[in-house]
């Protein structure tokens, strides 16, 4: 019964989203306040309906209602509660329901937190959100209905894939979708501004918090996925340049570019057309990612043929939204004329360079991702594009961005002198170079990767510190006064410095890990010790055990250094009987400068076991850097200038009847 109500709520939400598309749009065009207000009511109603629908599906999973096809396919009574809940989005249909739930949630947030927006703009934003929602409701209802029943309910379900039964993975998709779908807000603001025919500084300020929020979620989502891959894969890889990974990375790069260019629109009324284009493309890449992932067209041309209906549907939505937005963009090119004037060397041009590097690096990832398809379709060549290509083609962009970033943040707006901007950085540049030399001297293997990474990472981090310090005033004002002022700097300044240093930390982590990783594969006998990278590893015991819904083989491995015990690790091999699927659970001793990572393999003769041991230097810095980046984003988001307009509303209430803008 509950399930049918959930289905009905979803159909109602579809109808409401259609209303939400049309009514506020007409209202905004004609200046009818009530029609515009109807958009807000529709957005809230739509959210409540989808929320109910999602709750109904969750209820079916939690109570293991095996009359629902999706629950049968993805759940089991013995599964721990956390994974019963995360099983809701651990499949195509349920994850699409989460997708529209988040979409409706963002729409409702625009109503709840969008008090500072002019009524017309808000009405149009909601209309565009409604249009996106309508497309995806139709997609779910016509091709991927999660509420389908089975005629003969089985006694128990097929269980969720064991690899998905992991805390990191339980929260990975929601964060990723918050990011993907959050970019729809930037898209809606861009389309609304184009319909309205006005892009100004205020628009730049309004669109930025939404983009920032989406980018923060996307950063966390990607970091969670990468971290999961690190500990679950069994050999500690953290990034694979896989099409599905690239699908999440491309919108991230474009969103990062958009964050920076929106500042130029806000502060200097320049780069308008480009910023609008980025806002459209950021969501466009989200949709492309959805298409790549759902249709399977990139990973295998044949998978597309297996389920053409879904792939074609998403392709049509992609063509509709992107085609519509870009046509509108072309038609309105005349309203996006820049105002601000700035010199060749200035903060503006530094941000233009930032945007070029981010956008082109995204283009490189895009070309590499679709190339196998292009080569097969047009050149009849069946080839692969893997990590070696991406590492080589993408790294130069990271190096250029890291090199230029500290200089760019110190350039003043409008007009600057390079020599003057470089002056406070000179000493720190030398320090970063000294760190590079030190790393070069210290390492035993002469690879350039670690020293270059050490230089770039410390240069970016030191540069972020200098950036913050320069904001406090000049040398004449005394260090004590400047220190005091440091804490009172706007949160946006702190956010920028924190996010940039997070980027530097990730560079350090990636380059040190890739340069200095140690690996040891051997047959170890019980009680026998061996040495890996200065650590003495002893296989103490191996025993069999039983988990809630799996059986396992649990090894006990002692790690010691210089005779002192460091850690006892328990790597596992699990077998999930329902899906007859084994998994490897690596055991990791996390450290500030290194992880000791052990995996137990198959039994061998004479009580021997295959043991893989890895020393992973600075591994945690990779994800710590990502988390610090998103913290920086959060600081920037909490800056008071995004909240100032709320109290200002009192004053403007009578001015609501402002006549329509240029159209």
């Amino acid at each position: 019964m509950f399930i049918e109500l959930g289905h009905a709520a979803l159909i109602l939400a579809f109808l409401v989203s259609l209303l939400q598309t049309v009514v506020p749009l007409v209202g905004a065009h004609r200046g009818w306040a009530q029609w515009m207000a109807a958009g807000s009511a529709a957005a809230t109603t739509q959210f409540l309906l989808v929320f109910f629908s999602f709750a109904a599906l969750t209820y079916a999973f939690v109570t293991s209602d095996f009359s629902v096809r999706l629950v049968v396919a993805n759940s089991h009574t013995l599964k721990p509660m956390l994974y019963k809940v995360s099983g809701v989005w651990g499949n195509h249909e349920g994850s699409m329901l989460l997708w529209v739930l988040i979409l409706a949630g963002f729409g409702a947030c625009a109503v709840w937190f969008g008090n500072n927006l002019p009524d017309r703009l808000r009405a149009r934003v909601l209309a565009v959100q409604g249009a996106i929602g309508a497309g995806f409701y139709a997609f779910i209802l016509f091709t991927s209905n999660p509420f389908e029943r089975v005629s003969a309910p089985p006694f128990d379900g097929n269980d969720l894939n064991p690899l998905l039964q992991d805390p990191g993975l339980a929260f990975h998709p929601p964060f990723l979708y918050l990011g993907y779908v959050g970019l729809s807000m930037a898209f809606s603001f861009a389309v609304a501004a184009l319909i309205e025919g006005r892009v100004d500084a205020a628009w730049g300020r309004w669109v930025r918090p939404w983009t920032l929020a989406a980018w923060i979620f996307l950063t966390i989502g990607i970091a969670l996925g990468s971290w999961w891959a690190y500990y679950e894969l069994g050999w500690g890889g953290f990034w694979f340049w896989d099409p599905v990974e690239n699908a999440s990375f491309m919108p991230w790069l474009i969103a990062a570019a958009l964050l920076h260019s929106a500042i130029v629109v806000e502060k200097r009324e320049s780069l308008k057309a480009w910023t609008i284009l980025l806002a459209i493309m950021a969501f466009g890449f989200s949709l492309i990612g959805t298409f790549i992932v759902r249709s399977g067209v990139i990973t295998s041309v044949h998978a597309f043929a297996n389920d053409p209906e879904r792939g074609v549907f998403i392709l049509m939505l992609l063509a509709l939204y992107m085609g519509g937005a870009l046509t509108l963009f072309a038609a309105r090119a005349n309203v996006m004329v820049s105002k601000g004037v700035f010199g060749m060397v200035s903060r503006e041009s530094a941000l233009v360079l930032n945007n070029i590097l981010l956008a082109v690096s995204c283009f490189v990832v895009f070309v590499g991702t679709i190339w196998p398809l292009v080569a097969e379709l047009f050149f009849d060549r069946k080839l692969s594009v893997g990590p070696p290509f991406f590492n080589l083609a993408f790294s130069p962009f990271v190096i250029l961005i890291a090199l230029l970033l500290p200089i760019g943040t110190l350039l003043p707006w409008k007009r600057a002198k390079v020599a003057r901007a470089l002056k406070p950085l000179r000493g720190w540049f030398l320090l970063a170079a000294a760190i590079m030399a030190l790393v070069w001297a210290m390492q035993t293997e002469r690879t350039a990767l670690a020293p270059i990474g050490a230089f770039l990472g410390s240069w970016v981090i030191l540069g972020a510190g200098v950036d913050l310090w320069q904001r406090t005033g000049n040398a004449k004002q005394g260090a004590a006064a400047r220190r005091k002022r440091l804490l009172r700097l706007p949160r946006a300044d702190w956010g920028r410095a924190v996010a940039h240093s997070g980027f530097g930390i990730t560079i350090l982590g990636v380059s040190f890990l890739m340069a200095w990783e140690l690996e040891d594969i051997r047959v170890a006998h019980l009680g026998e010790s061996f040495e890996v990278g200065g650590y003495d590893i002893t296989l103490a015991s191996v025993r069999e055990g039983q988990g809630p819904n799996y059986s396992n083989i649990l090894a006990e491995i002692d790690v010691a250094k210089n005779g002192k015990p460091v850690a006892t690790l328990y790597p596992e091999k699990r077998i999930y009987p329902v899906q007859a699927m084994p998994t490897t659970e690596a055991a990791i001793d996390n450290g500030f400068t290194r992880d000791v990572y052990v995996v137990i393999g198959d039994p061998q003769e004479n009580n021997g076991w295959v043991v893989r041991t890895y020393i992973k230097p600075f591994a945690n810095w990779i994800w710590a850097g990502a988390i610090i980046m998103s913290l920086g984003g959060g600081l920037s988001l909490s800056d008071r200038r995004y909240r100032v307009a709320a109290p200002g509303r009192r004053h403007r209430a009578p001015a609501n009847a402002t006549p329509g803008p240029a159209e």
Binding site: N91, P118, N161, L163, L164, L169, D200, A201, R205, G234, W235, F240, D242, P243, V244, V293, G296, T299, S300, N306, N334, V335, V337, S338, V341, V352, I356, L357, A359, F363, V364, V367, A375, F379, R381, K382, L383, S384, V385, G386, P388, L392, A393, I521, V523, K573, A580, M581, P582, D602, Q604, R640, V644, A645, G648, R652, A655, T658, P661, A662
Partner: protein, 161 residues
């Protein structure tokens, strides 16, 4: 890698054969000569496991990947250079096996796409910035309809912080 792909395949309802728990290079495959083994490891990272979705043979646990690893080691032990060993595998399985696509023919476009796009973008960016830095201030003129007093007042209020 197979795990990751399985995960995504499952999330997406694509369905994929379940992986096994044994992993990658087994102790019995490792060559006695560390230098030779090191070369084999490096080369395997650039070779695709053909029955997997997007995995190199060094990480893969598929039987075919194991056969390829052993074949590669045999070639290296027999005295092949890196290129000769790779060529021997490509001649059997086609260029699909190369994770690092060759810089020949139509794939030249793939390799040049990034540098060419960067040069074009820098050119466009340079032209734009030069236009903005308008010596005579021409760029300040806008074809945009100026804001009404009311709109300007509202804008000032919003931008005041």
């Amino acid at each position: 890698m197979k795990y990751l792909l399985t995960l995504f395949a499952l999330v997406l309802g694509l369905g994929l054969a379940a992986p096994t728990a044994t992993l990658a290079v087994e102790p019995d495959e490792i060559l006695a000569d560390p230098a030779l083994e090191e070369r084999a490891r490096e080369l395997s990272k650039d070779l695709r496991c053909l029955v997997c979705r997007n995995e190199n043979i060094d990480e893969s646990n598929a039987d075919l990947a194991r056969d390829l690893r052993i074949f590669l080691r045999e070639r290296l032990t027999a005295g092949d250079s890196d290129d000769e060993a790779i060529e021997a595998i490509v001649s059997r399985y086609g260029e699909y096996v190369l994770l690092n696509p060759k810089v020949t023919g139509s794939s030249l476009m793939l390799w040049l796409a990034g540098p060419v796009a960067l040069i074009c973008a820098l050119g466009i960016g340079f032209t734009y910035v030069r236009g903005r830095s308008g010596r005579d201030g021409k760029a300040t003129e806008t074809q945009q309809k100026p804001l009404s007093d009311e709109e300007q007042a509202r804008l000032d209020e919003i931008l005041k912080s």
